[in-house]
């Protein structure tokens, strides 16, 4: 602003801005906390497709385990055969 217009300068100075919200400090400085703090209080965002993929994997793993148990169960029940090495 040119120094020869103090009247305009004084008028412009009448417009004050609001103070910055403390939430901004939290948003900016939060990612820089220590890992120990993150392990206790942190949270992560997981995309839904990843969640669906993990669910499918868990269901598949569960199914495989139950199928394996079903296969070994008759053999284990027949203790005599197991002891003789027929199993």
């Amino acid at each position: 602003m040119e120094p020869n217009d103090p009247q305009l300068r004084d008028l412009l100075r009448e417009w004050q801005t609001p103070a910055i919200s403390p939430a901004v400090e939290e948003r900016v400085l939060r990612p820089h906390r220590a890992w120990s703090s993150f392990l206790l209080h942190g949270s992560i965002r997981v995309p839904l497709p990843v969640v669906y993929g993990l669910l499918v994997l868990m269901i598949f793993a569960g199914w495989r385990m139950s199928a394996r148990t079903a296969q070994t169960a008759p053999c284990a029940a027949n203790c005599n055969q197991a002891l003789t090495g027929a199993c």
């Binding site: 217009d5 412009l12 919200s21 901004v24 900016v28 400085l29």
Partner: protein, 170 residues
């Protein structure tokens, strides 16, 4: 940049960046988003700040300025950043206070005139500093400031005394 240096930079300059962003956008939420983005850029790419080219304050204001102009282009893709030809009419005299009238007048200016007047008047930056922060040459900054002042005088005429009126005794 260490964590402590980053925190110092944030505490030392957050208010300046916020004031500038608020006066450029007229919105608290937009200004706070810009402050956040500005410091995240500094944190993620500290190498982009070169102390030999100016102060951290000028650097952060330069980033904030780019973010403000990006928002402007996204929101108003067909409006020019600098409208030399447009002649601003005086604001209608309303119930608004003087501060509200000033806010309205500044937010009416084209962005490049607005940033020049905000940096010069409210942040008290020199012409050279403004030229560096806005990546413009000195003549362009002088011209924008001059036009901004003329436009503000026209818009706020009802709150200003006519130029040349002499007060006091001879």
């Amino acid at each position: 940049m260490t964590d402590a240096e980053f925190r110092d930079a944030f505490h030392g300059h957050k208010d300046v960046v916020h004031r500038f962003a608020y006066r450029m956008t007229g919105s608290s939420s937009a200004a706070e988003d810009i402050v956040q983005d500005c410091f995240l850029i500094l944190w993620r790419k500290p190498g982009v700040y070169d102390p030999s080219r100016g102060t951290v304050r000028a650097f952060l204001l330069g980033i904030a300025r780019n973010l403000v102009l990006k928002r402007w282009r996204d929101e108003r893709p067909h409006e020019a950043l600098e409208d030399d030809a447009f002649v601003f009419q005086p604001l209608s005299v309303s119930e608004d206070g003087r501060a509200e009238a000033v806010e309205k007048a500044i937010l009416t200016l084209p962005p490049l005139q607005r940033e020049a007047v905000v940096l010069a008047e409210y942040e008290e930056m020199s012409l050279e500093e403004i030229a560096r922060a806005t990546a413009a040459d000195l003549a362009a900054v002088k011209s924008r400031l001059h036009r901004a002042r003329q436009n503000l005088r026209r818009m706020l005429a009802h709150l200003l005394e006519p130029k040349g009126v002499f007060h006091g005794t001879k």
